[in-house]
Amino acid sequence: MLSVFDIFKIILGIIISVFIIFVVMKFVGSYMEIGESGRQVSLMVNFKKTVENVYTTGISTDFELKESEILDYRPPLIETESTVIDTSPTPTLLLPGKKLSVGRVDYEIGWWKFYVIEALPDTKIIFVVPEADETTWALVGNITKALPSTENTETKVWFGVGCTNKTAPNFGWEGKKFTDSIIPGIISIKKEFELCENAAYWKEKDYKLVTITQTPGEEDFVVKPGDNGIGHVYIKTDDGYSDYIYRNNIDIAALLLGGQIFYRYMSGKFLSELDVAASVAQKEYGLLMTNTEIARRCSKDVSDFLAILDAIRETIPKVKDGQNEELIAEFAGYLGDSRAKFRQLESEGCA
């Protein structure tokens, strides 16, 4: 028969055991949460490091980042359950996916270079070109160059052109081969294309259709080229269409990958870095003109160049909202003039 003391020992033992188990379980639970948070933070820090490496080297690489890790992405902020990562100062566009190709796209106008990092999963893009003329093909090539070429990565961005017999696109090339061989080949045989009728089918299969035409219809994403390298992009919404004016091919790529949010972010980065570049160039050439030999040889052309830079800097605040087509056309004209004038300065040994 159990004594009182034996009963006391049993009860005390049970109480203490339950207490110990409770404390240990609680601690293990918290520790697992901390461990999981630590893993997520480490993953995002590694992603940022990869983006920075690609930005400085220009060498593309793959990165594994599950789509489910990301709760929200509004560039430059990537939000996960445990942390928020800011990809600044590198201009970065990210499409979440299990495995990403992280590549750098360069925009260059001679006296300035603008680098953009694009981190994309397997992506399939078809250019629908019912009016295949010189302008259209040039635009196809330029938009392709505004997206990463994935020869060096396992994750691929594939390009194609369509449609033939309204259904079948010619598809399956990476960026460099597409622009260097395929497009010239298609141009040389004067192949013609039509609108892709079963766009919903291609969308279901995760293809992104980019329709380039002067007469937009019911397509989801339409680029209507204008003059001077600018034009309109129409994106289908629930209420109709959103109309954006693009200033360069990076604007088109940003709209294609992420709509208005990406467009505004990239536009802001582009214009602020351009302003810095123009300001530095103005001061630099002002310094160089203090040298009598350079001033003697180059003063007229440098003055013209400085005047163009002035015009660019004055127009930047006016084109920030991307609404005024006339001003944007003027701005695009100044960028083109600056490129031409810089080439002239280079050829004369004044750059």
């Binding site: 207490f19 820090v45 530095v280 310094l287 203090t290 040298n291």
Partner: protein, 160 residues
């Protein structure tokens, strides 16, 4: 008999006490280890930022010679033209950079250019920084000569 019973009880109480004490000590140890691990992660992030800035500035198209695609050929006219605020617009805040050509002490301001060989951006002497440096070339725009120098980048510790 009573004393023996009390001693038995004390044994149990003491045993329970020591078991709980061990659990508490282990808990504190693991928490302390986690805190120190987090501190080390923070240092790692600052190190990563310094490394990135060093490489980015050395290869920045804003201060490199246009025709030199490989980078690390900084141009003195561009170095003299760019300001701390402009660098911060490009690469954020919380760091400083210096470029020096040994033998040249004069800070490169527009009124002494090109007879100078020292540039400093965003330096705050009162703040502690994690510092890295690498050798770079500096192209003298006026004469076409190339001087060897070094680029030093410091990331302020505990800065934003």
């Amino acid at each position: 008999m009573k004393t023996k019973g009390q001693m038995h009880m004390m044994e149990y109480v003491l045993l329970s006490f020591f078991v709980l004490l061990i659990i508490v000590v282990v808990t504190f140890f693991l928490t302390g280890w986690q805190i120190s691990s987090t501190r080390s992660e923070r240092r790692e992030v600052e190190y990563q930022k310094a490394e990135f800035l060093l490489r980015t500035i050395a290869n920045s198209p804003y201060i490199n010679r246009n025709t030199y695609k490989e980078g690390s050929m900084l141009e003195d006219s561009k170095l003299t033209s760019i300001t701390c605020e402009e660098f911060q617009t490009l690469y954020g805040t919380g760091w400083y950079a210096e470029i020096e050509i040994p033998g040249f002490n004069d800070a490169c301001l527009p009124d002494v250019y090109p007879l100078c060989g020292s540039w400093s951006y965003c330096k705050d002497e009162s703040k502690e920084a994690m510092i890295f440096d690498i050798p770079v070339n500096i192209y003298r725009k006026m004469t076409g000569a190339v001087d060897a120098g070094f680029l030093r980048v410091g990331v302020y510790i505990n800065a934003n």
